[in-house]
Structure formats: structure tokens, C-alpha cells
Symmetry: C2
Subunit: 405 residues, 2 copies
């Protein structure tokens, strides 16, 4: 096929779209000798492979006619029932199964929420920095993003209030706020209770929706969990998105979203034309996994596992990194965020690191305003102890070489 | 939660979106006593449940760390290799694995193709009638649809040429054509070879893309297969979409799409923000299913099974339907399309039928111009022989009652 060039036929959004920085880096560093602290994928060591294998085989033998058939777009009724109960018990969210839609990962929950709520040129406020999957989904619907600084207790609500006021004064409408309240990607920080309340008040007074993305919330290693934004919300402005990727199995691609019944109905209609329904086998396996209490067991096991890895990386950082470099101690999740002195460039460091078989994710792609050149993200989730030790040591040495004395 | 009304915040597309007529009817008729000739779902009797169960268990035991982990957005490399071979051997399409993207069903292939190619107000030509999943995906990207009549040999290319000329004369740009070449949903008709060639010539002269959606092509019950549009295409204007739902298992949600490398790359970027990647387990199971030659075996088995069901429905139609009612003999796929005399309304008939525990899909939702009131679609794929007999008999009697003597 000698294909003619058809790029002039691409949609404006596709023509402008850039690949996800993480997915692209994963391809670059896919070689066995690489000590990767880049990808935020879960550790296969904690995958409940045997349990899933036995449940899947059972389900396929007992009821192949259901398990292999199309499901409803909303998702398996029994599973939505279980998830409503989880929402209540684990996250303080009172909701009915009709308020739940099961999706192919929480990424799809975000995509559908954006489709239902974002018109081209609508503005969504996002953390500075924030996960670029979130901003990518917003932009894919033609939405625009404006950054709100994130500090040690999450999105800075003073700055948020200023931006909202300023935008309102200029007659510019804001549609919503995208926030990862727990152990945010990439910073690992958690939004404080006080700020959660302020955020809801601001959403109310400015007529906004809140996209609450909580893929890591179950993995808290210390301290008490904070209430979900949705559990504090009295007006139904929060769209609450959860992932099963970090506590069950990412390859099963199961996420779910809770919202107002009418909004969920609109998301269901959108999904009908997006992929008809979520993988049925994965839903039945998860249902049995929850019913047999394996989910709770797996979560508890994962917490211990990842806490050890976090502690180990923190210890290695203390050992090998200069005191001129700053980082945080995340209370959960997968990430530690590194701040180099402002004159150092983490993207340049990354090039040197990859040449030396060490990888991380530079911070810049997480900053929609192009700042954050001196930052980068380390993940302890997937790397072995040996790779964490060797990777942090090598990075520490490379940074020291670059530091002004 | 006493939710405030947020409908004023919905996107224009979501506010206007209507649920898929088929998915909605499926909810209405979901009772055991219903003799449904409505849904075009595959027959669970031919699901390879045991084979899939054994492969899935094997894969989960042998390599849970891969099978349960995120995959690349493009899809499993080994599977894309197998699919490229299938494309060559079964469909005469020469392509490399880099030209293939694995999706959550062919519905997602269509959604991603639309995202990459359709800007709001772009016009796509579609069959009159056609599958509303296709038009739904186009509209979800803000696209507009114009109908081209479908007759016994598919989309009428004379009319297509007229419409294209007329639009060009009016300075209106057309972006592409959506076509289901084999055993089209809902009519069951197949686009003739002559028309396939004309369609490609028109696409070339009018600078269009062709969305070739072929979910039923493998299920041909008689006659020789016609070449895929993509196999005849010398300029790379065809986006070829295939489904595993009718020949493997719909609940596994696996489809794939072949296109120009650059276009596939854009679709991959879109998918990164849509759902990151396709279910990994389903991909590994399908890979083994193909490698152990079970796919070919299943296809051959399915052909025999559905051919018998088609023949049985045709026989029952001949027995119970008035000669004033017209229908076709599909050479493959799942559907027979019924044309009542023009003065009869199939939607009214459906209401009476559902009251009497018989269901079908009225034709009107397949006609984007609101015509087709006297038509309806029957499916023999999922119904038992007993339901086909009883359903067709009951419908025949209801229609006779309504016919003018």
C-alpha cells in the first residue's frame, strides 16, 4: 500500500494531540538492564494470580453463557451493588447502584465524564503539577486547562479562590476542577480536610463540578483516611472515580464512577457508542473476588508491601541524595516527588540517567504551564529493592556532579 | 444526597445524546417468557467456554505477572502479529503489526477513528438504513450524517455519486463514508464487488476516508467472500475495523483496526487518554486461541450453526408471513430485514408484539432521515428454534390482522 498523506483530514484535536509522556517513556526504557523508577505500575509480586485464576476458571465453567456474553452498558447489576456497599463502607459515600457505572479503568470514567461535561473551550482547573492522563482526557474533548499550584497539603485553595474570582471578574466561565485528593500523581501529597471543604464551597458558589480521581486512596500507609470529597458533598457536584488497577489487577481494566443518577445515565449513553460495555469476565471475576473477601485481604497485603517499598526508597534517598535536593514523605500511593535546585534541569538529567540504565519521569510534563523543569517523579511501586537501591544511588551521584558547590 | 440540577453544565453533545435503541429495548424485553428476535447478540450455545476456561487458567498460572499487568496501548505485540497474518490470509489485506491497534471491541475502533478524523460539523455518509452504533459514534464527535440508500447489493453508488457531486457543487466538504460491506446491520445485504470498486474510486476523487466496519464478514453461509475494501485500496483511505465478538466471545470485548501507520499512531494516542490499554487477559487468551487453531475451528462451527438458524427462520417466514410482506435472504451474518406494506407502522406493531411477549427491532432507528417506518429487523442469532418458530408465527398473525384485504 503506497498510502497517500491524509493528515489534512485529521480532526483538530487529533492533529494537536501529543502522546502521554509516561507511555512513551515506557517504550524507551523497555530493556532488562534498566533500573526503572519511572512507571507507576503496580508490582506484579502482589497480583493475586492464583485466586483470579481459580475464580476465572470456575466462572467460565459454571456460566460461560453469561461470562462470555455482552453485558449491559451500566455494568453487572450485582457488582454495582457490591461497589455501592464498598463506597459506603470504605469511602463514606452514600449511593445507590443506579449511581454507579463500571468502566474500562478509571481512565475511561474520566473520559466519559469529560464527554458529558466538557464542550470545546470549556475551562477546567487542574493541579500544578497533575497527572497528564487527566489533562489529556480534558483536552481530548476540546477543554482547556488552567493550573492551580499544589503544595504540601494539596491544591492551594487560596490560589484557587483567587483564580476563580479573577476569571469571574473577566466574565470567563469555569466548568470544573480536576483533583486527585489522595497521594496525588505525581507529588504524592494529600489534600487536607480543610481544603476539601473549601474546594466544595468554591464549587458551590461558582457552579462547578469536581472530578474527584482517587486511584490510590486505598493504599494509605499511615495516618487516618480523609473523607472523600463526594462524601462531604451535599449538592451532587462531585464525580467520584475509582480504579481497581492498584488493588486488584490493572490488566483487568476495571474502574468505576459514582455520580448523580442523571449524569451517570448520560455517561452510560456515551459509553454505548464508545465500547458498548465493559469486559464481562473481568466483572464476574471481580464480583467473586469481592464476595469472597479477597479484595479486603489484597488491599491489606498491598498496603504492607508498598509501605515497605516506600520506606526503603525514603531510606535510600536519605543515604544518597544531597541535602540540596528536596522530597516529600507520601502517606500512601506510589510516588515521591523530587525538587532539585532551580538551576538544574531534570529532563537533561533523565537523558544521562537513561544512558546509564536508570529511569524516572521528568516533572515538566505534569506542569501544564511548562514549569517544573527542576522536578521529577520517582516511583517505588514496581521496582525491586535492588533496583531502588542502585537507581537512587546512581541518580544521587549524577545529581551531585551537577550541583554547584 | 439532595442533588442540585446540573443539566445546564452538560456538553452540547451529551445534552442531545439519545440512548442506543437496541440497548434500551434489551432492557424492556429482559424477561424469561419473551421470545426475542430483537438483539443481535451471538448465541451462547456456540461460546467456546471450556476452551477459553482452560486457556485462561493456564495463562493466569503461567504468567500472572504479564497477564494481569497493564499492556501497551497498541495491544500485545504477538497478538498484533497474528492479526496481521489473519488480515492477510482471511481478508487479503497486506499490513504490518504497526498498522494494527487492538481495541475494546470494534465499537471502540470506530470511536477512536471518529475522534481522529471527525471535527464538529464534518459530514459522513452512511447507509439508509445503517447500524446506529456507527452513526452514534460519529455524532458523539460532533459529526453530521447524511444517508445514502441501501438496496439489495448494498449502498447505492449511483446515489452516492449524485450526493457527492451535489455537495461539492454547493461547496460542502464530505469527510468520509461509513459502510458495513458484509451482511450489513440491519439489512443483511452485502456490497457488490462492482460497488466496492466504485466506492473506492469516489473516495479517491473526493478525498474521503472510508470507515469499513466488518463485524459479520467471517460468518458467510454461502457464496464466495468478496474482497475487503481495504484489500482493494491502493491509497490508504480505508480504516478497516474487525470484531472478535461474533467469532470468539463478545464479553471479552476485543476488536481491532487496520489503517495507515500514521493514522493508527494517532488512534493510539487517543486511546492513551480513553482507557490506557485493552484488557490484557483477554488478549493473551485470544492469542492462544488463535495459535492453537481454535479460532478457525470456532468460525467453521459458528458458520454451520448460524446457517441452520438462518435457514430455519427463512422457512418459518415463508410459512407464516403474508406474501404482501417482503424480506431478503442474507448470505451471512445475523439479520433478516422485513418490509411491510408502506401503510403499516412497525413501531406500532412492536408495541403489540411486546405485549404478546415477542420482540424485534423496529427499522426506524436505523434510518437517520426518519423513514423506514414500515420496516423491522429480525435476528436469528440468539433465539432458540422454538422461539423463532413461535415468534415468527405470532408476528405473522399480528401482521395479517393489520393488512388491508
Amino acid at each position: 500500500m503506497s498510502a497517500v498523506n491524509l493528515t489534512h483530514l485529521y480532526s483538530k484535536i487529533a492533529a494537536a494531540a501529543q502522546p502521554s509522556a509516561i507511555r512513551e517513556i515506557c517504550k524507551l526504557i523497555d530493556r532488562p538492564e534498566m533500573k526503572s523508577l519511572a512507571g507507576g505500575w503496580p508490582d506484579p509480586a502482589v497480583f493475586p494470580g492464583k485466586e483470579i485464576s481459580s475464580i476465572a476458571a470456575d466462572q467460565l465453567i459454571q456460566r460461560a453463557d453469561q461470562v462470555l456474553q455482552y453485558g449491559t452498558t451500566e455494568g453487572l447489576a450485582e457488582l454495582r451493588q457490591e461497589l455501592a456497599q464498598l463506597a459506603r463502607q470504605r469511602h463514606g459515600i452514600e449511593c445507590s447502584p443506579e449511581q454507579i457505572l463500571i468502566t474500562h479503568g478509571s481512565a475511561q470514567a474520566m473520559d466519559l465524564a469529560c464527554r458529558v461535561l466538557i464542550d470545546p473551550a470549556d475551562v477546567i482547573l487542574v493541579g500544578l503539577p497533575t497527572y497528564f492522563g487527566g489533562t489529556g482526557a480534558i483536552k481530548a474533548c476540546g477543554g482547556e486547562v488552567i493550573g492551580v499550584p499544589v503544595d504540601n497539603t494539596g491544591m492551594n485553595t487560596d490560589r484557587l479562590a483567587d483564580i476563580l474570582k479573577q476569571m469571574a471578574d473577566n466574565g470567563k466561565r469555569i466548568k470544573g476542577i480536576y483533583v486527585i485528593p489522595n497521594f496525588q500523581n505525581p507529588t504524592g501529597v494529600t489534600l487536607s480536610l480543610k481544603r476539601r471543604k473549601i474546594l466544595l464551597t468554591l464549587a458551590e458558589s461558582h457552579d462547578l463540578v469536581i472530578f474527584e480521581d482517587d486511584p490510590y486512596g486505598e493504599l494509605r500507609y499511615e495516618g487516618r483516611p480523609l473523607p472523600a470529597l463526594m462524601s462531604l458533598d451535599t449538592s451532587g457536584r462531585v464525580i467520584h472515580m475509582r480504579s481497581m488497577s492498584k488493588i486488584f489487577a490493572p490488566g483487568m481494566r476495571i474502574g468505576w464512577v459514582v455520580g448523580q443518577p442523571e449524569m451517570i445515565r448520560k455517561m452510560v449513553i456515551a459509553k454505548q457508542f464508545v465500547d458498548c460495555a465493559t469486559n464481562t469476565l473481568a466483572q464476574y471475576v471481580l464480583l467473586e473476588f469481592i464476595r469472597s473477601r479477597l479484595l479486603t485481604k489484597t488491599i491489606n497485603h498491598n498496603i504492607k508491601h508498598y509501605r515497605r517499598k516506600r520506606d526503603y526508597m525514603l531510606q535510600q534517598l536519605k543515604k544518597h541524595f544531597s541535602r540540596k535536593v528536596k522530597w516529600n514523605r507520601p502517606a500512601g500511593g506510589f510516588f515521591i516527588f523530587i525538587r532539585l535546585p532551580e538551576y538544574l534541569d531534570a529532563t537533561e538529567l533523565l537523558t544521562e540517567a537513561v544512558d546509564n540504565n536508570v529511569a524516572f519521569v521528568a516533572g515538566a510534563p505534569f506542569y501544564i504551564d511548562g514549569s517544573g523543569q527542576n522536578t521529577f517523579r520517582l516511583s517505588y511501586s514496581q521496582a525491586s529493592k535492588a533496583d531502588i537501591a542502585a537507581g537512587v544511588k546512581a541518580l544521587g551521584a549524577m545529581i551531585k556532579q551537577r550541583l554547584k558547590t
